[in-house]
Symmetry: C2
DNA sequence: AGCGCCGATACCGTTGAAGTAACCGGGCAT
DNA sequence: ATGCCCGGTTACTTCAACGGTATCGGCGCT
């Protein structure tokens, strides 16, 4: 939530935005692959570079991130723009179609804030019962 | 919940409710396991029996359905009630927590109705480009 | 010459979800 | 007594996702 869309460069992504305490990995929802939802969150504020995306995504390996981005590009969720510069620069940006997923991510997050503790409590209770 | 344990049954589930033409399997969303969302849809109208659930779920194998139901029970999304009758009868019903997921499924379906053709078109266009 | 940066790709191993096939126990109809 | 039905379970296999490590190519820097 640190983004302010000023004219210059975007604020850097918070490397802890998917910190282990963030329950996003426990949510019973998935959008596409494991990382797709988090990539959308990272690109919500504007275009980002490959290496910029790696930091907050809990050190996702380049291979998996590359696969995820390619799948999303194939499905029209984001665009990939390579600038012929040095050092090389590649920017990923959400398409309008990709942005239509944001409300769903919001809904999933809202559900989790309200109900995920309930679900996890039920799970723990069940485990205690089994033992 | 107008359930009578011996009286009029609910209308049977449409065996084609997850027909191959139903794009639910193409949706880029998942709730829990592969089948969790469909189970919720099947139980939306009231409790159902094991064999009743098998029909519309495109012949999911008993093993996978059993695993799915057990995981959902563990997470407090549904209850399992076994009646000591003959023939044996087991009913699965959504809990209030399970019902909280229905609006999310609705949102996912609404997204798919609006945008999924767009996504699939982008995918096909990309494949044509690759070829 | 050697090193590092960026954006990957190749190769390989692990994991876990999902599917297949066979079977079970009790009751009941044939 | 045989087989069927219900609601599963068990054992085995398959498959895609995910992850780890290593490496590449072009360029600039020292």
């Amino acid at each position: 939530m640190t983004d302010s869309t000023d004219g210059a460069r975007l604020a850097p992504l918070d490397p802890d935005m998917f910190h282990p305490f963030c329950p996003s990995s426990e949510m019973p929802f998935r959008v596409g692959d494991k990382w797709t939802g988090m990539v959308i969150r990272c690109l919500e504020g504007g275009p980002r570079r490959f290496t910029e995306l790696r930091a907050p995504l809990r050190s996702v390996t380049p291979k998996v991130l590359s696969e995820t981005l390619r799948a999303m590009e194939r499905d029209g969720l984001l665009t990939r723009t390579a600038y012929d510069e040095n050092p090389p620069r590649v920017e990923y940006a959400l398409t309008p179609l990709g942005r239509t997923l944001i409300p769903l991510l919001d809904a999933a997050r809202a559900w989790s804030e309200t109900h995920l503790p309930h679900l996890l409590a039920a799970r723990r209770a069940h485990e205690r019962n089994a033992a």
